[in-house]
Amino acid sequence: MKRTIVAFVCGLVFGAGLIVSQMSNPAKVIGFLDISGKWDPSLALVMGGAVAVFGVLYRLALRQGTPLFASRFTVPEKDSLDAPLLVGALIFGVGWGLGGFCPGPAIVSAAFGDARVWAFVAAMIAGMLVYRIGLRQTHD
């Protein structure tokens, strides 16, 4: 139960960060990706700000040994590059550029009331299921 409450509050704060920084605005994302035209560098600072805060606190937390409400810190097992990682990142990048949404901002802005965002989220979940069920069985 504690884990669920923590995750809910973190989701709220994470979502607030996406809205304040305008990651949840597709036009802002496309402005960032349009480096040769009318370029809006803001999202580099979103990532920079997030990495600065998380990068420090991540290491401070690791020094504690274990998380407060769980038995261990969970990290991805793989640490070398492989084809699915690289191909998947390319496919994701094309979709990100075409729509202006990555997964977090899509879920946040689904609440803004535009039915096209629901269409995006439905297609995204379908794409996830195709890979999870059709192409790969592993999960943690």
């Binding site: 504690k2 998380p67 994701f92 899509a106 096209r116």
Partner: protein
């Protein structure tokens, strides 16, 4: 190239909030806040493994709902793409993030902070792919 619409302070502040939320998840429950992984594994989890993931996703959605109800004038949202384009984009984002084990949050924020070689490579690639896609196929108004 001309620089337009640059909003450095709200970008940094929003980014810091994202980092703080991710750090709290890590410090308290030992989990990385990668949205595509949380959503993708929620669909194949049971019990509390499902509950915390669903709660995180619900928190994201409710943040959006609270913002649009409480501060409707301050929520910026502008989408040019039509249904065909968003459906295609969504399918690619869903498939690509599961195949590539992460998205902007899991790779771009958490993985880059951890100096993970996989995440650094993925982040460079999805950014480059996004830039090339916008250059060839997406027109800004």
């Amino acid at each position: 190239m001309t620089i337009v619409n640059f909003t450095p302070w709200s970008a940094l502040f929003g980014g810091a909030l994202i980092g703080l939320a991710a750090a709290s998840m890590w410090w308290l429950i030992g989990r990385l806040a990668g949205v595509s992984n949380i959503l993708g594994t929620a669909m194949i989890s049971r019990g509390e493994d499902f509950a915390w993931r669903a709660a995180f996703i619900a928190g994201l959605f409710l943040a959006g709902l609270a913002a649009v109800v409480l501060f409707p004038g301050d929520v910026h949202f502008n989408l040019e793409a039509g249904y065909g384009q968003v459906l295609f984009a969504g399918a690619l984002v869903g498939l690509g993030t599961q195949m590539g084990s992460g998205c902007t949050s899991g790779h771009g924020v958490c993985g880059v902070s951890r100096l993970s070689p996989r995440s650094i490579a993925a982040t460079l690639l999805f950014m480059a792919a996004g830039m090339v896609t916008v250059y060839f196929w997406v027109q800004q108004p």
